[in-house]
Symmetry: C2
Subunit: 456 residues, 2 copies
Amino acid sequence: MAQKPSIAKGTRDFSPIEVAKRSYIMNTIKEQFKLFGFHPIETPSFENSETLMGKYGEEGDRLIFKILNSGDYLNKVDDELYASKESTKITSKISEKALRYDLTVPFARYVVQHQNEINFPFKRYQIQPVWRADRPQKGRFREFYQCDADVVGSKSLWQEVDFVQLYDKVFSKLGLNGVAIKMNNRKILSGIAEVIGASNKLIDFTVALDKLDKIGEEGVKKEMLSKGIEQAAIDKVQPLFNFTGTTAEKLAKLRELLATSEIGLKGVDELEFIVNAIKEIPLETAKLDLDVTLARGLNYYTGAIFEVSAPEGVKMGSIGGGGRYDDLTGIFGLKDVSGVGISFGLDRIYLVIEELGLFPDTVAPGTKALFINFGTEEGLYSLKAVAQLRKEGIVTELYPDSAKMNKQMKYANKRDIQFVILAGASELENNNYTVKNMNTGTQETMNFEELKLLLR
Amino acid sequence: MAQKPSIAKGTRDFSPIEVAKRSYIMNTIKEQFKLFGFHPIETPSFENSETLMGKYGEEGDRLIFKILNSGDYLNKVDDELYASKESTKITSKISEKALRYDLTVPFARYVVQHQNEINFPFKRYQIQPVWRADRPQKGRFREFYQCDADVVGSKSLWQEVDFVQLYDKVFSKLGLNGVAIKMNNRKILSGIAEVIGASNKLIDFTVALDKLDKIGEEGVKKEMLSKGIEQAAIDKVQPLFNFTGTTAEKLAKLRELLATSEIGLKGVDELEFIVNAIKEIPLETAKLDLDVTLARGLNYYTGAIFEVSAPEGVKMGSIGGGGRYDDLTGIFGLKDVSGVGISFGLDRIYLVIEELGLFPDTVAPGTKALFINFGTEEGLYSLKAVAQLRKEGIVTELYPDSAKMNKQMKYANKRDIQFVILAGASELENNNYTVKNMNTGTQETMNFEELKLLLR
């Protein structure tokens, strides 16, 4: 009995139209990456386990897909360990390779391994799939693409300015006007922690503050108190509960608030540099917002933090994010390589563009004309025209079988092919073609030059 | 101690220039696929093991990369089986997923699973990596791309004609003029087996015959006899030892030779149909050759067989191949779906193009102009110009740090950037730019419009 085929849990097939739409997004991003001077690299799908393990925390280690060794792999497990039957301990003996979990660690490995061939600052982009053994759920997959651009080897804030521009250009090109690029700085968060005298409560603090819109000032304060943040600390950062006004006003408030924190003021300076530059080189359609509650990847980022949210009215988590990290390659022994990067959330961007109906009609240019197959001689006559038309860049095909007319027409219809071309005995004799426009139903006979002009 | 990073055995990093060259090949192929009416699909990197296992023979099963189950995977192995410590038997209990081994079986799974959404005949292309646990060696990798186009759901020989055209167009576009598209037909091989009365010796027969050029007629016959093929059988196919002349002459010889074999004559008819069509629609640069020793995938193909070899003078195995198979989807329960397809050997095509120096100079368009960074105010002035130039599609960058002039110039040099643009205090005052051509060493001051024209 033949088995009924199924796809692995948490993975997806992509049909032609889905591939076309995904390619449209990826190509739009790539085009801007290139304009901004980024270069593509690719790394292997699997890495030696020691390259990946221990880099993403305990949960990350668990979610990394491990590849079983080949051959008699159990032979290498000593009997005592084998007898324990402890999966976690035996894994490293029977698996030496693992699937890429993100693009950042392989990039760090790449930079260290190829450091002598690279001209720093190195601007690279990378668009490849990653795999995570997460429990699949709506919008969360076990295989998905990441789409990253990073610069390593320079601490310059001009990079941050360029990345804000890059986000703006990509989303504008995609027609996603009005995305919000939210920006914060890790140093500001450190400053706030210093001021409230509770660095270990920083996450609780930002999580609570983030709910200001929903639960109001009193609600937030209540939550902060319940998390053990003291009233006196809350009083010190009172301006954050009224964090409105222009960006300049917000920066002024922060500068006052963080007056006693050296690192906090450094963060304000950095934000100000970026904000001032963007003021001079205005964004096309995106808005740049300061958001002091933004605290993504707290243990990872050291400077600017970015997160992009979809245009207002679309319910969707962040569609992009990134920031500055001061030691990407230290894990592999190359110290003091500062980096900054952003990523695009391909799957979510897809959903937003779909929801807003922004995929161009031309995203999957299909076959323009189908030649009906009337038999060997006619087929040959048609295929000569097909070859000439393809040279002109016109997508055209001969129906493969001399099936019933009705079947061939149906096929053209189902595939949304606009023109059907009939070349039977009479056309062969007169060296012309009868063209049926499937949209209008009209039919016309013409010579090859006219046909070419029509289809072009 | 930080670990020294290394890449997994048999895998490769691709640097920017390598990615650009590979993309050039893939895009050229894709463009023709689309012109010929093929549509892209993508399938997941891993499949449920039962989808892949048993489909590639015993060696294939061994070479499939298996993915370890998550969690306490050993818990699911019953104690008796566990005690055996037999890797081969335990594998299926601790691994339920496996990495794609080729694109054909996942495609068959796709067709069966999506049969109700597909309009047959279905013309799909697929360009994705596959993984094999082969022993790595020169030119053989554990991760490599396959690049396939197939039509399923039609037995028409027009497809074969179209595929010969497709090969010709792709290799012509790549500048690989003069590739040989070798063609045979499985039915001809069956016919030969019938005539020599030794179907089980067919492989020995073709392998020996293939050495005609190297070891001569006597050598080949000696090898055949040593493999147990009888003298009487060899005599019957004597014309194959003198298989020269025009294609028409070759076909006539085959027709005579296979006169007693119904299936053999069917094969001759099929070849003739393709040859006649190609005569009427001449190939651009490729040549179509009949090669009765061609016997790839003997157990798989049922009709036409193709193999492409590099232009004369280049030592390289086949750079493409394919053929007709009559039952792709039967393994998954969908009967009578005939298919025909070809594939392109991406890695080898890359090596051939490299060897012949045929990659266009424009394959990796780099940064056209680098603005020297003189500080904050000058940086801002430059970045405004950068933003305008990028809008015009000109790849340009501001050096991120206001480092020493020498360092910035060196960077431009190393990255082969043709123009370096200096905008210091004097340029800001006069609202212009000083442009240094790094190739000629000349230097000129101009306004923005002139700069735009120069860089365009």
